[in-house]
Amino acid sequence: MSTRFIGTSPNRVGGFGRVTGLQEYVADIRVPDVLEAKLVTLDCARARIISIDTSAAEKVTGVRLVMTAADLPQPMPRFGPQLEDRPVLAVGETKYHGEPVAIVAAETKDAAEEAARLVRVEFDELPAVFTVAAALDPKAPLVQDPSLRPKDPLASTNVLREHHVGWGDVDAAHADCIVENTYSFPMVTHFAIEPHAFMAAPEGDGIAIWSSIQHPNWLQKIMAKLLKLPLAKVRIYAPDPGGGFGGKQHTKYEPVVAFAALKAGRPVRLILTLDETFQAVRRAACEIRVRTGFSADGKLAFQDIKADYLIGAYCDIADRVVGKGSYPAAGPYNVPAVRILARSILSHTTPSTAFRGFGNPQVNWAVESNIDEGARALGIDRLEIRLRNLAHKGDAFIPFDTPADGDWDQAVRRAAELIGWEKPLGPGRGRGIAVGIKSGPTTGLSYSTVRLLSDGSVIIFAGTSDMGQGVRTILAQIAAEELGTPLDAITVVMGDTAIVPYDQQTSASRSTVLMGNSVLMACRSIQSQLRAMAARLHGVAESDITVERGAIKLPDRELTILEVLKPGLGSLGGELTGNGESRKEAEPDHPLGGAPAFFEFNCTAVEAEVDQGTGDVTIVRHVTVSDVGKALNPLQVRTQDEGAAIQGLGHTLMEHYIFDESGRIRNLGAIDYRIPTSMDLPLELRSETIENGDGPGPYGSKGMSEGALLCVAAAVGAAVRDATGVPIRDLPLTPERVWRALQERAEPAAIGRNAR
């Protein structure tokens, strides 16, 4: 397609402000008379609260409010996107390290911090569970009160829910080779660079809430219900987040800050420290047992997968993560028999939530690693075994679902070519290749409004959130393409529920597809109004007029939009308005409540060098190829892809929570929880795309912001295995873990390529 704006990489809309410090994040916004808040927490995970004495805290100069559970409506309001199980403040018992039992609001941050230290909580530490094994022990203390889930046969266990998916008959399937292993994936946190920030202010007969949130409309619904206010009286300001990664999707401390603001009668704000962020958002840890059956020719005979996700103390969106993330666990392959059991397991740890990849990276690590083991056992090349099983476009690889929607083998072949799969390896080096798949959004609703002003400039109103992925730019590019308006004459308005129409959510890599289609529809509505205008002005039939980008084509001539718009609007000026609606309805009979709008497919190939003395893993080359349908903005696609790859290296090589025996997170903060820096990047990182224009989004695009994270661990793990001969089935692959594995290997392994 020859276009002026699509497929180009103009300067990012809002990029200048973002990199120069001009952009205002929630923490930068000052409203008059705002009070600074601090949460009061206990120094253990689970405790029975005996009493809370706020008298000393209240005496601190500048303190205006100390609020405990007793000061909130009774019974304690609870909330959550999936289950309404999380109390605004802990009532009776804390369930994880960092759960707030009170909030202090003061004139200064120092006063709030001092007062928070002076809130005296008398408590008894209680037995608690921090691991899958401990949570599943029949004698384990229950994380949730069974009365929260009446009629649920699992209510007397720490299993919140079981998800069963499958087809074919696993038990009857014939296999020439069966490989069974257990893998683990660590607890990690999002580590967004912008701190999570919350502010609330009484506003007339309603409330205004500022939040670094990805889903402002979902927050609005939850707050309206908690506060018993009409939606129209709850105004959510959602400035562009500085990184979300799923951690900013759902309501966290907005309720406690809102109740504090209403009680204090003044605005209250809470800016989390990095330490507190660790106690607010994380990815579910997971233990996965995979039994894979192969035919002698490497064809997959069955996959039998059991995944236990440790979701934490409250549900948040975690059970959806478990269900949706485990659902395509058998991968992008044609597998005749599949049985998947995924369990959401409660524990006395930070409630886990959505995180880029949404439950898929955990099972991908296990299943892709196990395919490597099968290839080795069968003496089949690890690339070849994937190509033999990969679903082709149109294959119903999940029988009751969206068929394979891309030429995925192209991505695999390209990644293999870029990594030099067939080339000889240097000493101490190994290669790995893995594929990942993730279901895109299963439901969706995105409204937008586009206004074409009298001078040809454009304002787009779209409620999706630009958290760094660059959706403002994409939407502006679509409007520019459709209306011929230069990008610098387009304004994109987001993040205010009183102004911007409803958008369901910014997640599952949906914005380009769903909101993109909505904006496209709004622009096309304006195009048809322009056609009507031109027909009226020039006395030709509407059907004889086409609008293409900036041009209005009449049978005998071509006019610019302005040449029609100005006379069409007349002396009073005015504007044209178009509305867009992109809707993906729920399908109640589908296991996920809807078939995915698209699949994200990625192939990652890695060459790694392992220092046999220290266990250090150096990623010499990292190749990621994603099937994106159409890259509307190639630079943004590449940076999203690279960002996902690097974030994946975090949980692969270094990131993990460390707990003590009381369930306290020992490595809170940046010093002992390490994320990759620029120094830790692969020596060479190559991102490419497959573009066949076969996506459901504008111009054939698909969502793509998570793909390159999905199979990083499996690709790196395979490369380390290839370099050392030692399989490691627990992440992260820290130098010490790799070193230990090398120490423990029974005999000097055959290092090299004999059975790659």
Binding site: D110, L653, M654, R666, N667, R674, T677, M679, D680, R740
Partner: protein
């Protein structure tokens, strides 16, 4: 944050008087990269913070005179890493200075602060031990010189008296040709705290000096004058007992999250051997240049 008095003396005498008056209630502020964090998290609650950056007698220069390089107490680590003088005479110190903290930290942190903080993991300590640095301290009775081998006690504790402060660090220019290297073990390549930090030098007479930190309460120095370690063709079996003597007393913390004791001890040996090898290679390169 806990409240405290802030003093910025203009002379050494005033600074010493403040330390004398407040004793352990006073804390010195130079780069502040350790102190400010501790003030914020409440783990340090001094009555008075004495800022040494305006003291007339304190210098942030690096100069050479009579075979001694003197690094002023307010010299920041970034300047040491970049100093041609340091790189020429004390390559391993420049290497260590280049990995202290992050760029931002190195632009503020001082060498004197790094050693006075006495973290067992301080990266500059092993090279200072290897190069035989001398700490110049000022107190009520004037200045005194403390060999660095007698400086560190344990984390946060040195042999400085409460009313003394470091005003300079002197390092003798090696009299003999030498190859030296600083190496460390971290959890990632980006800035990180070392789980082993180690420096080794080999000189042309066959003396090997090896110092390491982060595997015990304080950084320590071992010297091998036998020439066995420095022998490029020496057998591993001959070197092994010397290494064991050097590493035998290491006692890494069991509580650390950064690395287990077993890993640290193993890495001490891996890094030690690698460092000796590199030092020998560098010495050979020195000889080649001069030949």
């Amino acid at each position: 944050m806990h409240t405290f008095a802030y003093e910025r003396p203009a002379t050494l005498a005033e600074a010493v008087a403040l330390l004398d008056a407040h004793g352990p209630e006073a804390r010195l502020l130079a780069g502040g990269t350790d102190l400010i964090i501790r003030l914020r998290d409440g783990s340090a609650q001094p009555a008075v913070v004495v800022d040494v950056k305006q003291i007339a007698e304190m210098s942030s220069t690096i100069r050479e005179q009579d075979g001694i390089v003197t690094i002023g107490a307010t010299t920041v680590v970034a300047d040491i890493a970049a100093s041609e003088l340091v790189k020429r005479h004390f390559e391993a110190l420049a290497e260590a200075a280049a990995v202290v903290g992050s760029v931002q930290i190195r632009n503020r942190a001082t060498l004197a602060g790094n050693i006075c903080n006495a973290s067992p993991a301080a990266d500059t300590a092993p090279p200072l031990l290897v190069y035989g640095a001398v700490i110049v301290a000022a107190g009520p009775r004037g200045t005194r010189r403390i060999p660095i081998t007698e400086f560190f006690v344990r984390s946060g504790v040195t042999t400085l008296a409460p009313n003394e402060l470091v005003i300079a660090i002197e390092i003798p220019v090696p009299a003999r040709r030498m190859g030296a290297v600083h190496v460390r073990r971290t959890r990632r390549r980006g800035h990180d705290l070392a789980s082993v930090t180690l420096c080794c030098s080999v000189d042309e007479t066959g003396v090997t000096r090896l110092a390491y930190g982060s595997v015990g309460p304080r950084p320590v120095l071992y010297v091998d004058e036998s020439g066995v370690l420095a022998d490029p063709d020496g057998a591993d079996e001959a070197k092994a007992p010397i290494f064991e003597r050097m590493f035998g007393d290491a006692s890494p913390s069991k509580r650390s999250m950064r690395a287990s004791p077993e890993y640290r001890l193993a890495m001490l040996r891996v890094l030690g051997k690698r460092a000796v090898r590199t030092a020998i290679e560098r010495l050979a390169a020195e000889r080649a240049v001069e030949a």
